[in-house]
Symmetry: C2
Subunit: 212 residues, 2 copies
C-alpha cells in the first residue's frame, strides 16, 4: 500500500442501528460531517443484496473521494472495486485474504490483543481495528481492550491503528493521548438524529479534545 489513507473518522455501517431508513442517506450525511473512510458491514443480507447495496454506496463514496472498505466479503470488495477489505478474527485468515486481494487493495484486520495485532501485521495488514474499547450493543460478545493495551499495541506495531467499539461523544476526546490514527464509529454516528453534526463533533473531539 503506497496510497495514503486518512483514518481520522472511520464510519462502520450497521443497518440495524440506523436513525434513517436509507443507508445511502446516512453515509452521505456522515461524509458531509467529516467521515474520512467508510466500511460496509452487512452480516444478514444475501450476497446479492450486499452487492447491490455496495454498488450504491460506492457511487457516493466515489463522489466525495472517500475510501470504501468492505467488511469480511472479499468477493464483494473485488466485485465493486472497493478500496479495501476489513477482516475480523472469525473471517478468512488475513494472510489468505492478502493473497486474494493482491498488494493494491487495503487490508484491515481486527485485533483485541497485542499478539493478534503483531500477527495481523505479519500477515500483511495495512491497518488495525483495535477493540472493543467499551461494551457496545453492536458486538455484545466482544472482548474489551483497555486504554493501556491500546497504547501498548500502538507503541509496538508500525501500521496505522484505529480504535473501535463503543466510541461516542463521551469518550472520543480520551483517545487523543493514545496517538492512534483514528476512531471507528458505528452507532455514535449512524444512530444519531443528526448524523452530520454527530460526525463533526466526534472528529473535533478526537482531533482537538474540545466539545461543541
Amino acid at each position: 500500500m503506497d496510497k495514503m489513507f486518512d483514518y481520522t473518522l472511520y464510519l462502520v455501517t450497521d443497518r440495524g442501528l440506523m436513525s434513517t431508513e436509507i443507508l445511502e442517506t446516512a453515509v452521505e450525511k456522515a461524509i458531509e460531517g467529516g467521515v474520512t473512510m467508510v466500511q460496509l458491514r452487512e452480516k444478514e443480507a444475501s450476497s446479492r443484496e450486499f452487492y447491490d447495496q455496495s454498488v450504491r454506496i460506492k457511487k457516493i463514496t466515489d463522489r466525495y473521494g472517500v475510501p470504501l472498505i468492505v467488511n469480511d466479503r472479499i468477493d464483494i470488495a473485488l466485485a465493486i472495486g472497493a478500496d479495501g477489505v476489513h477482516i475480523g478474527q472469525s473471517d478468512l485468515p488475513a494472510a489468505v485474504a492478502r493473497t486474494i486481494i493482491g498488494r493494491e487493495m487495503l487490508l484491515g484486520v481486527s485485533a483485541s490483543s497485542l499478539s493478534e495485532a503483531l500477527q495481523a501485521q505479519l500477515d500483511g495488514a495495512d491497518y488495525l481495528g483495535v477493540g472493543a474499547m467499551f461494551h457496545t450493543g453492536t458486538k455484545q460478545e466482544a472482548q474489551i481492550v483497555s486504554m493501556e493495551k491500546l497504547l501498548r499495541i500502538r507503541q509496538t506495531v508500525r501500521i496505522p491503528v484505529v480504535a473501535i467499539g463503543g466510541i461516542d461523544r463521551g469518550n472520543a476526546a480520551s483517545f487523543r493521548k493514545a496517538k492512534i490514527d483514528g476512531l471507528a464509529v458505528v452507532s455514535a454516528i449512524i444512530s444519531q438524529p443528526d448524523i452530520k453534526d454527530a460526525a463533526e463533533e466526534l472528529k473535533r473531539l478526537f482531533l482537538e479534545g474540545v466539545t461543541v
Copy 2:
C-alpha cells in the same frame, strides 16, 4: 472452461441434514459411492469456519480427483483454489462472478426458468443447476420446475444442465429421459444411514433406470 467435468452425480452439502456429524466422513463415503462432483454449501457458518471446512474437504476431493465447487462465496473458492463456484439468483450476479474468477474456474448458476437459464448462459455460466424439481426441506421457498420446463431448458441452452431439488431414489430414474448431464442431490445422499449405498443407487437409477 476447456476442462471436462462429469456432472452425473453432484453432491451438494448441507450440514443441517447430515446423518453423520462429520462432513468429511460424509463426503468421502459419497465419493466412494460414485459422486462425481461436490459442492460445499454453508449459509450459517462464519467465513473462517467455512474456509476451514473447505480446506479440509478439498484434501478429500483432491485425493479422489473429484472437483470441488463452493456455493456463493467466491472469496472462499479463490482462497482454497476450488475448481469452481456455484451462484444462486440471490448471490452475486453471474456476469460479475465471472469477472472475479476469470476463465479457468468453473461457474455454475441456478435457474428456475428458461429466461434465467438463457441469461445465465449469456453471463458466462459453464453449467446450470435447474430446480427445484420437487418440494424439498432444504429450500422450502424454492420455485418448482416441471419436467417439461426442464426438457425445454435442456433443449434450448448449449451448456450442461443438472437437475436439483428433492431428487431421491423414488424419482432419479425419471430424469433419464430429460437427457440432462446429471443430478444434484442433497438429503438423498447426505441424510441416508448408508451414504455410499445411497450414492451408488442414485447413480445407477439415473444412468440405467434400474433399482438395486
